[in-house]
Structure formats: C-alpha cells, structure tokens
C-alpha cells in the first residue's frame, strides 16, 4: 500500500522543481536544435499517432538518446502491430543477452514478448534485468510482478510489486511514466484506491501520458465504472485520436464496432482489438466472423487469456467439453488454475442465462484463488438470479469488502437495502418482493393474474416450473436495472426473466399494460425452465409475445405498418439470425421489431404446423445440437426451407394487410420495447406544417396511392383540427378500414371518438372507443369512460370488463377504484367492495376520513364487524363529529344492526 509519508512528499516536492529546473536548463541549451532532436520529434510524432514516422525518427536518435530512441521505436512498431520489428530492434541493441546493461530496452523487449505469447522468455529477460541491477527500473519491477501474476505465481509477484511501491513511498519515483507503473503495481496488489490516486498523479504530472490514461480507463472499466472509463479514454483520444488502448477501451465501454474497425485500421494485428471484436461479434451471433478474429489472435499470441477464455466459454456453452478442456489445458500450460479464465467462463454463462453453470465456474474460480474478488461478485450475482438471495448477498459482501470500487458489487448490495424495506407476498406458486405501496395496491390484482398465468400456461405447455417463482417488483427503474444486470442503465426493458426469478418495473412507473408484461415474463419462466435456460432469445421472446395475444385478445402487438415497411425494405432477418435482431439492435425501433418478427415466426409455426410443433421445437432446445438439426427433427425440413416457407407466409400476410407505406413516414416509436403506446411519428407533421399545405400534400399522396394509410389518417387529423368533422370522418374511416388493427397514437378510432364527442354524439363516441380498445391494451382513459357509461346504463358486465381494462393499465388512480367500488355496491359484491376500499385507503391522501369510513361501511356490509369498527375508529379519531362514521361505529358495535 502506498504510504504518503512526509519525507517522500517533501522529497518529491523538492525534486520536482529541481527536475523542472534541470529540464529547463537543458531545454535552454538545446533550444537552438530542439526541433531537430530525433527523440523529441519522435515523441511528438508518437503523440500525434504518426507511428511509422515516429519509429523512423526514434531510430535516428544517437548518443545518450540512443537507448530511449530504440525503446520509442519499438513502442511505435508495437502500436502499428509490427511485433517482429518491435522485438528485432530491441534484440539487436542487446549485446550477448546482457539484459542488465540495457534495462529499458530489455524491459520493452520482454513486454512485446509477453504480448506475443512468449511469457516464459519474457520472464527470463525481466528476471535477468532485476538480478543484475541493485535498483532495477520501476517499470521492470512492475512488469515482472505483473507477468508473475499472469503465469499464476501470485505470491512470488508480491515482493517485486511492493518494491516499486516502496520506492515511491521513499520519494524516489519522479517521472509520470514511473508513477503510472506504481499505479499499476497498486492495482495488481488490490490497492485500488491508491491506484486511482496514482493514475491521477501521473496524468497531472504529465497531461500527455497516454499510457496512464489508458490504464486508468481500464481500471475504471474493470470496476464497471463506465462513465469514468469513457471520460478517461476520451481524454487520451483528445491527445491522440489514434491511441489504440483508448480506442479499444472506448469500444468496450459503448460496444462501438466502428471504434474497433478504426483500431484495426491502425494496427491490423492488435490482439486487444481483435479479441474485443471477436467477443462483440459472438454476442451479435456472428460466430464465423468472430472465430476468424479469435484465430488470428491466437496466431499472434497463443497465450491470450481473454481469447482462450472466450473460446472455452463458447465450447462449454455448446457443451463441447473436450474442446473446453483443450482450451483450459492450454491456459494451464502458461497459467495454471487461472481464476480470471474461470471467471470469464462464468461470466459468459451468466450472460447467456445459464446461471447454474455460471455459479459452478465462479465457485471454481474462487477455489483457484480465494482472493479473486471479482469472483465473489460473479458468484453472488448469478446466485441471485437463481433465487439464492442469502448466499448471493454474502458473496457480494465479501467482494465489496475487498474491492469497494467495483460499482456492480456496490450497486447490487444497495438493492438489497431497498429490498429490506419491501414487503413479501406469497401465493400458491409465487413469492413476490414489492414495495409496501405495491403490496397494498398492486398485489390484490397481481396475485390472481399470476395464478391464472400459472394455471393456463403450465397446462398448455404440459410443464410445471420449479416453484415458488420469485418475482421482484421494483418501484425505481435504477433498482430494477441493477438487480437485473448489475448496472443502472438497462434501456427500454421493463421486465426480465432469469428462469427462476423475474424482475419487473413497478406498474406505478409505467404507462403500459402491466398485466400483459407479467404474463409475458411468466411465459419465459416456462420456456427457460423447459430448456434449462438454453432457449435462444428470439424463440423465448417470440413465444412470450405470441402468448400475450393468447392470454387476452387485445394484448400483443399490432405492427402491420412495421411489417409492410420491413418487407418492402427487405429488413426481415432469416430465422437463423433472429437473435442478432436483439443483440444488434441500434435503437428501440430495431429492438421492438426484433420482438415482433420473433412473434411472427411463432405465429407462423402455430398457424402452419400447429401448436404441438411449437412445443416440440422448445423441447429440442433442452438438448445441445445445431439449429438445423432441431428444425429438421421438428419440421422435417432444413432451416433454409423453413425460412422460405416463413417468407412466403409473410408475403401473404403483407398482401392481406394491403396498405401502402410511404417512404417519408417514420416507424411509430414507443417505450418498453413494445409494451406501451407507440407514438405515431407522422402525426407530428400536423403540428409542424400549416393545415393547407399538409392537406394538399396528403391528398396528393392519396391520389398517388389510395391505400396510403398514414395519408388518410393525417388528412383526417388536420380536418379534425379545422373542425371539418364530416370530411374528417370520411378520411379517418378510410384509414380505419385500411388498417383496423392500427394502435399507434393517435389512431383513427381515437380521433373519430373525439369528433363524435365534440358533436355530442355519445353513442358513436363510445362505439369508437370500444373499437379502439379492441386492439389497444394501454389506454386507461377510454376504458374508464366506457366503464362509467356501462355502469350508468346498468350493464354491469360491460362495466366490470372495462374496469378491469383500466386497472390493467393503472391500478394507482383513485377514480378507477372509486368506480369499481360503486360497481361492487351495485352488484352487491361486498367482498369486492372491501378490496376496492382497502386500496382507496392507501391511495387517498386527501381525505383519509372519508376513505376510512367508506372502507368501514364496506366491511360492515361484508359482515366483518371488527375490521369495520377499527377503521371507523381511525376515521373518528381525526373527525369525532363525523356523523356518517358515527353511524358505522354504532352499527359495528351493535352487531351490524342499523
């Protein structure tokens, strides 16, 4: 650990000005020819990213600058990927393997050797430098310690890393470059706080120290601190936009393929770039391309731990255990029982939802090295996803105690603090953690829905998952995100199923049909558990979306326009590549369409082959085999044949939809990857342009193609704004007839209902609202209007239906519960009235006396005298003279008699 003793501080504070003075003097002397100093110019060229020119310039250095020139040239060749030349010029400068005589050149040589998979030779060289020198360079000590760690000689590494730190503590480390090395030593010895401070010090001492920025960014990234990592890499790129470690680091932070392509253009042999690219391509289901890069990495550096772990994980995920063993043995040859290797494999399993295996590999990593703190985070986070909360938390705590900088660990532990304030509710098959508010308000509606989903879907799929299924409902999006992925940003997702555990955003923070989401996620529980979490995402999502529509006819997705547009633009993915639609989505619209296309494939299967074939296909994923074999087994055809059938089916569906999609229209956009109202982007036109020109334009579009849905709709909206209701109705009805299932906002039925409302035609208004709700599941207000109208007309059945529709969108509003309580009283359902008034007591902060009295009356009517009395006492405690409450009190104490 670094020690900020007074002596060293004084020493450094004295020496820095001295150094500056010396440097200034030297600079003054050489002022006349500084522009011609090859070393100086080489450094400038390096800093600007002109590596080839820098290499040449460095080699022109002579005299006292010669050795530094050789190191600089080697570094420049290294950054260009010319590793042979980087080593050759160093080797040529070392006479008779006298490494001690050329310390920095030898250290550079060793670093290049390590980077090209020659760790044993690199160790020998570094060892020689250290043995031959009383005070070897800080860089040599740290590189030696680092390499010893890499090859699994962790205990041996400690004294060398410590020596570097001690030298700093003794005030004998001056240059920014050496402080960077001390920072690295601190990092390797788990003194993360010190490492952070030292990187800071190094970059302050030399604001152009690119290596410090690059390593500092790597430290942040290792701790999942993406924001600081990105900032730090950017600082390096601001100095040198071609600085490879920062370019690659940036790509790792933001998953930017272009940054990697840029890095590879600069250095086509960059191991770090290629293995990062390979990993990214694997995630995006582009396995063949990924393998090309990873093979190239191993050809350059056979000891690339990252690449070997990526390949091993891929083999293990595919249950090709012999292949996995080969990669493991290769690692063991140069780094026995390397915990990072096992940790990376664990991480890969976790990322692929294979949590059971992830836990096994994480445990193995910790057995190999109990001080591999990241292993505790991996173990803890994966245990949580299996529902093993206690053990998960214990492991996270160990990780946090030893590595408090790890943002993922601390985030996940903070969520446990949140969970401690939550209520736990249980039904026959589910255990649910939720806020007290949700326990009061949501649970009465969530519980029956969960059990209904269990009964319906387990019967349908003939499979009963392990239960109780753990469901966690978070009222803060950040908590939901951290619990789900460890980090507070999760994009548009609103629910995630891990197989045995489901995390959800509380409907309190959504404007969407939460019941559809719950149904969707529970379907994942079944498909994931049926396949031991081997289900590909596309099929799992496709089935979950498909089952939405099966659950309620108005659930699911109506994206006819998107389908027509995608078909016209040839954007439909082959079935074999559907997962790439998710992993490679560039925006919410892409992601939403990936869900929709997956659903279409499932719809195609059930329509063309029958539901049983869908279940057979799911069953196939319980076994390890190629997709082509699965499809052959189930459908008796190749993937290509299946795909051709699907495309034909899509073409027929597009023809059935029969609308024209204009190229100037944008796809609708909505939150929650399809769970929620999708805004009709074209409607913005009506706000941007004047009515006359917009009408003219839309009429021209209709003239060109009378099946132009958006043109009819937009024309109808403009006419509505102008209060030209008769013409507006015609346009909107045309639009509706073209695409009755359209649910974007605003839609033809919605605008038509508004026209009739303006005209005072309540019957037609209600009729169009009802039409709207036939396809739209996320509309609260329309459901409330219809429920109230039905209750007023005495149609209690319809009223109940629309009340349920409103609660499916927002159970946190007073008016829906007040109306439902009224409904309960009308139909004489005293138990329901109690439920509604119980919820209203929690919701109505303005009038607690009234709410309590209402509840007490409901209890009284339901024969629950004790509860009636207690609630009315609460009311009268505040308002003792409130006579309605007094009457309820007397009835409750007199046994209900009026």
């Amino acid at each position: 650990m670094i020690r900020k003793n007074t002596l060293s501080v004084i020493a450094r504070s004295l020496s820095l000005p001295l150094l500056l003075l010396v440097s200034q003097l030297a600079q003054g002397q050489a002022d006349t020819d500084i522009g011609g100093s090859p070393l100086f110019r080489g450094e400038e060229l390096m800093r600007s990213g002109s590596y080839a020119a820098a290499a040449e310039m460095f080699q022109m250095a002579d005299g006292l600058d010669r050795n530094e020139g050789i190191v600089g040239a080697s570094q420049a060749y290294f950054l260009m990927g010319n590793y042979q030349e980087a080593m050759r010029i160093c080797s040529a400068a070392v006479d008779d393997d006298d490494y001690g005589a050329t310390q920095l050149i030898s250290t550079q040589l060793a670093e290049v050797m390590r980077a090209t998979g020659r760790s044993a030779e690199a160790l020998e060289i570094l060892r020689a430098v250290i043995d031959e020198q009383f005070e070897p360079p800080v860089r040599t000590l740290v590189q030696y310690g680092s390499l010893l760690q890499f090859v699994g000689r962790r205990a041996e590494a400690v004294p060398y890393l410590d020596r570097a730190i001690q030298r700093y503590n003794n005030g004998l480390v001056f240059s920014s470059e050496d402080v960077t090395m001390v920072a690295l030593a601190s990092w390797l010895l788990d003194y993360f706080h010190d490492a952070n401070s030292l990187f800071n010090e190094a970059t302050r001492a030399n604001p152009n120290n690119l290596e410090a920025y690059g390593l500092w960014g790597d430290l942040f990234l290792e701790k999942y601190n993406a924001a600081d990592a990105e900032r730090t890499y950017q600082e390096a790129l601001d100095i040198n936009s071609r600085y490879l470690p920062a370019l690659i680091g940036m790509a790792r932070v933001v998953g930017d393929e272009r940054a990697l392509q840029r890095a590879l253009a600069i250095n086509p042999n960059s191991v770090a770039a290629m293995e990062t690219y390979g990993q990214l391509l694997l995630m995006n289901e582009r396995k063949d391309e990924a393998m090309e890069y990873l093979d190239r990495v191993l050809a350059i550096n056979a000891e690339s731990l990252k690449t070997l772990s990526i390949l091993a994980a891929d083999a293990a995920l595919g249950e090709r255990m012999d292949e996995y063993a080969q990669y493991r043995d290769r690692v063991n040859e140069f780094s026995p029982d390397n915990p990072r290797f096992l940790g990376d494999v664990a991480d890969a399993f976790g990322n692929n939802y294979r949590f059971t295996e992830a836990v096994e590999y994480a445990r193995a990593a910790l057995t190999a090295d109990p001080q591999y703190w990241q292993g505790y985070t991996l173990l803890g986070s994966n245990l949580i996803r299996l529902g093993e909360e206690e053990e998960g938390k214990q492991n996270l705590e160990i990780g946090f105690e030893n590595d408090p900088f790890n943002v993922m660990t601390s985030n996940m532990l903070k969520v446990f603090d949140t969970l401690e304030t939550y209520a736990t509710k249980e039904s026959e098959h589910f255990k649910v953690h939720m806020s007290e508010r949700d326990a009061d308000i949501l649970w009465p509606y969530l519980e029956p829905l969960l059990e209904e989903s269990w009964d319906t879907l387990t019967t349908k799929y003939g499979f009963e998952p392990e239960y109780p299924v753990l469901i966690e409902v978070f009222d803060k999006t950040e908590d939901f995100a951290v619990r789900s992925v460890g980090l507070p940003d999760i994009g548009p997702l609103v629910g995630i199923c891990f197989g045995k555990v489901v995390t959800l955003i509380s409907p309190d923070t959504l404007s969407a049909n939460w019941q559809e989401i719950v149904w969707h996620e529970f379907m994942h529980v079944i498909t994931l558990q049926m396949t031991k979490n081997r289900m590909p995402r596309w099929l799992s999502e496709g089935i979950s979306v498909w089952e939405e529509r099966e659950g309620r006819p108005y659930w699911g997705r109506s994206q006819g326009l998107d389908l027509v547009r995608a078909a016209a633009q040839d954007k439909l993915l082959p079935v074999a590549n559907l997962n790439a639609g998710f992993s490679g989505a560039q925006n919410n619209a892409d992601l939403g369409f990936a869900y929709f296309q997956s659903y279409l494939v499932v719809d195609f299967i059930t329509e063309e082959y029958g539901f049983d074939k869908l279940v057979e296909l799911v069953d196939q994923y319980a076994f390890i085999k190629e997709d082509s074999a699965r499809f052959l087994e189930v459908f008796d055809q190749s993937l290509d044949e299946f795909d051709a059938g699907f495309r034909g089916w899509i073409d027929r569906r597009v023809e059935e939809i029969g609308v024209f999609v204009h190229t100037e229209d944008q796809p609708d956009e909505g939150a929650g990857h399809g769970h929620g109202v999708r805004e009709n982007s074209s409607a913005v036109l009506a706000e941007l342009y004047n009515n006359a020109s917009l009408k003219q334009h839309m009429r021209a579009r209709i003239e060109d193609n009378d099946k132009d849905f958006q043109a009819h709709l937009q024309l109808g909206i403009v006419l509505f704004k102008e209060e030209n209701y008769e013409e507006a109705k015609l346009s909107l009805e045309n639009a509706y007839e073209l695409l009755p299932s359209y649910t974007g906002y605003p839609s033809p039925p919605l605008v038509l209902s508004q026209i009739y409302e303006q005209e005072g035609n309540r019957e037609a208004q209600l009729q169009w609202l009802e039409t709207l709700l036939e396809s739209l599941q996320h509309d609260y207000d329309s459901a409330m209007i219809l429920a109230e109208a039905a209750l007023e007309s005495g149609d209690t059945e319809r009223s109940a239906y629309f009340l349920d529709r409103a609660i499916q969108v927002d159970p946190y509003r007073n008016d829906v519960h007040q109306l439902k309580a009224r409904y309960a009283e009308v139909v004489g359902d005293t138990e329901l009235a109690v439920t509604e008034y119980e919820v209203l007591v929690k919701l109505d902060f303005n009038d607690p006396v009234e709410a309590r009295t209402d509840l007490a009356e409901a209890y009284l009517a339901n024969g629950q005298l004790d509860q009636a009395k207690q609630n009315v006492l609460y009311a009268l405690e505040i308002a003792p003279s409130f006579q309605r409450a007094q009457q309820v009190l007397l009835q409750s104490v007199d046994g209900g008699a009026n």
């Binding site: 405690e877 309605r884 409450a885 007094q886």
Partner: protein, 353 residues
C-alpha cells in the same frame, strides 16, 4: 412587528371551545385567546396579486386571485365588502375585473389596510393572501408589487396596527421564505410556500391551497370547515404528488409558523412546534345558535362537546398509552359521542316534527 402581549380577556362561548379544545387538551401554557371564532367574529380577507410578465403567469395569477375571491364569497360567508382584492395595476377593464378594488402597489396596500383598520373590531380575523413573485433573502426579501417592491419588514410594520385582531398570512410567492419570516408573530398564522431563500421558482402551492378551500376539499375532520392546518396539509400533499407525477424533484417546500418564532415547520401538527393555532384558525365564520334548542337538547349538545373535547385530549396524549389501551378508551368515548349525537338528532327531529 406584532406585540406578543395581545390579550382579549373575554371567555370563549361553549361552541367556540370545540375548536380550541386541542390546545386545552395538550395542557399548553395558558395564553391569549387567539382565534376564538365566535359567531360575532367578523372576518376580512385581503388578496394581493402582484404584477408579472408573460401571458401565462398573468393568467395564472389572475385566475388564482379571482378563484379565491369567488370561493370565499360563495362558501365561506364573505362578500365583496369583506374581501379586498388588489390586482396588478388595478385595471378593472378585464374579464371579471369587477372584483378588483385597487392596484397592488404600496399606496393600494396601505389604503386597503387603513380601510380595514377603520372597520375591524377586537377579535376579528384578517386573512392576507399574497400571490405573485418574490425575491431576495432575509431582511431584503421582497414581495414584487407595482412600483418599488415591498420588504417583509415594511409589510410587517404595516400590519402592526392589527394587534387586536387575529391574522392569517398566506404567502404563495416565489422566494417567499424571507418575507414570510419577517411577518412571524405570536398569535399569527403564517404560511409560506417555500422554506428557504434558495427556493426561487414559481411555486404551485397556491393552486392547491385554493383547491383545499374550494368545495371544502381540505376538510379532513369532516366538521364542514377548513382550518388553515387542513388547507396547508392538503396543499402540501398535492404539491408533492404533483412533482412526483411530473418526475421532478420538488423545488418548493411549504412551511407554517404559528408560534411566533419565525421558524417554519414543514410538517405542522398539534403535537409539533407549529400547528396548534393553525388547527383552530378557520377561514369561515361560525354560525351557531342555541336559541331554539330545548333544555334536553342543550344538555345533550353540551355532553357532545364535552365528549369531543375528551377525544381531543386523549388523542393529544396518544404517546402516553399502550396501543390497545388507547383504542379501548377511544372507542368508549367515540361510541358515547355517537350515541349522544344520535339522541340529539332524534330530539331535534322530534322538535321539527
């Protein structure tokens, strides 16, 4: 500043005790009889809506001022004689301008207060409602009016003449805290829509305070009256809900001071430093008459009042009891009160028949 020695030494009528009971129940130090609220008490309101720029703000401030005027007239027994509305430059040629009595400038305010001073009697109640913008902090805190702005200290000095009257001041302006603090005085209820000088954005508090009065929405204890504490609580809760719904951190936190220490409590209550006076400060006029009651009815009414008083006392001592004991005693009192009320109503029904 208002003198703390205010004392109006007449006994409260039995009916007025109802409202004052919580104070007695908590064995407060004996003090002056503020907000006795007898049927003889006259109540006056002064609404000052300062100038602003922008149509949106102008509309909002005007709407608040006019709504408040109308609600007081419609629901709380006020009339245009007892309400003084000073609005912007005092122009009456706007829609609804007949409500306006003058300009919100220094002369207008001074004139309005002088007129009031000439009319009020001891024990009358004056409610001052400030709408608009504020600025500055502490002694320099100002209410923006037409012409030179007025500081809290200057305004407090103008109110000094009302030492024999009960006073409620509701300051709903931005940066209202410093100004409000200057108005603090014993026996006065001061409500501020912000709690610190840093809360400088236009608050939405006024909207919900007026909503609390409208239709007696804020009547929490169902006595068909709205106390200042009830209106404050209603507005505060709704302001919080509004910001939560908007997904924004609330830039305003209202406070109430009614013990004269110029320290505003964010959660006033009868067992907090502030809240006791606000609980008995009603904006409306109490109309109670026992004249037509029979002797039996009077006896029952006295019993009801006594029981209600006991409920308040018990409620004030809740912390001294075990939960079960508390509710047993509370139930006993409330059942007794309910039965007595029922008998009283029956008796009144018989009289009517």
């Amino acid at each position: 500043m208002k003198l703390p020695s205010k004392c109006r030494g007449f006994l409260a009528l039995a009916s007025a005790c109802l409202a004052a009971m919580p104070v007695v129940g908590q064995e407060l130090e004996p003090g002056p009889n503020y907000f006795l609220d007898t049927p003889d008490t006259a109540k006056y309101a002064l609404i000052v809506a300062g100038p602003t720029v922008g149509d949106s703000n102008k509309d909002r401030f005007r709407q608040w001022a006019f709504s408040l005027h109308d609600i007081l007239a419609r629901d709380y027994g006020y009339s245009s004689d007892t309400i003084t509305l000073l609005h912007d430059r005092g122009y009456t040629e706007i829609t609804g301008g007949e409500r306006i009595d003058g300009a919100a400038n220094r002369e207008g305010i001074d004139q309005a207060l002088s007129d009031l001073a000439a009319r009020v009697a001891t024990g009358d109640q004056i409610t001052v409602y400030l709408i608009g913008h504020g600025s500055g902090a502490e002694e320099e805190a100002k209410f923006n009016i037409v012409g030179p702005d007025i500081t809290g200290i200057e305004f407090a000095a103008m109110l000094d003449r009302f030492e024999q009257q009960d006073m409620v001041i509701i300051n709903t302006t931005s940066a209202s805290y410093g100004f409000s603090a200057s108005l603090s005085s014993e026996g006065r209820v001061v409500i501020s829509s912000t709690r610190s000088p840093s809360e400088r954005y236009d608050p939405v508090f006024s909207r919900y305070f007026i909503e609390a009065l409208d239709g007696r929405n804020g009547d929490r204890d169902k006595n068909n009256r709205v106390s200042m504490l009830e209106a404050f609580e209603y507005a505060k809760a709704n302001v919080e809900a509004w910001y939560e719904e908007q997904g924004r951190l609330a830039p305003e936190h209202a406070g109430l001071d009614d013990n004269g220490d110029a320290l505003f409590t964010l959660e006033p209550a009868t067992d907090e430093a502030d809240g006791r006076l606000a609980e008995i400060a009603y904006i409306d006029t109490l109309v109670v008459s026992n004249e037509n009651l029979s002797q039996n009815a009077r006896r029952m009414k006295a019993r009801m009042q006594e029981l209600e008083r006991s409920v308040f006392i018990l409620r004030g001592r809740k912390a001294d009891f075990l939960e079960a004991d508390y509710w047993t005693q509370m139930e006993s009192l409330l059942v007794d009160l309910a039965r007595t009320t029922s008998q009283f109503n029956d008796a009144m029904g018989e009289v009517e028949q």
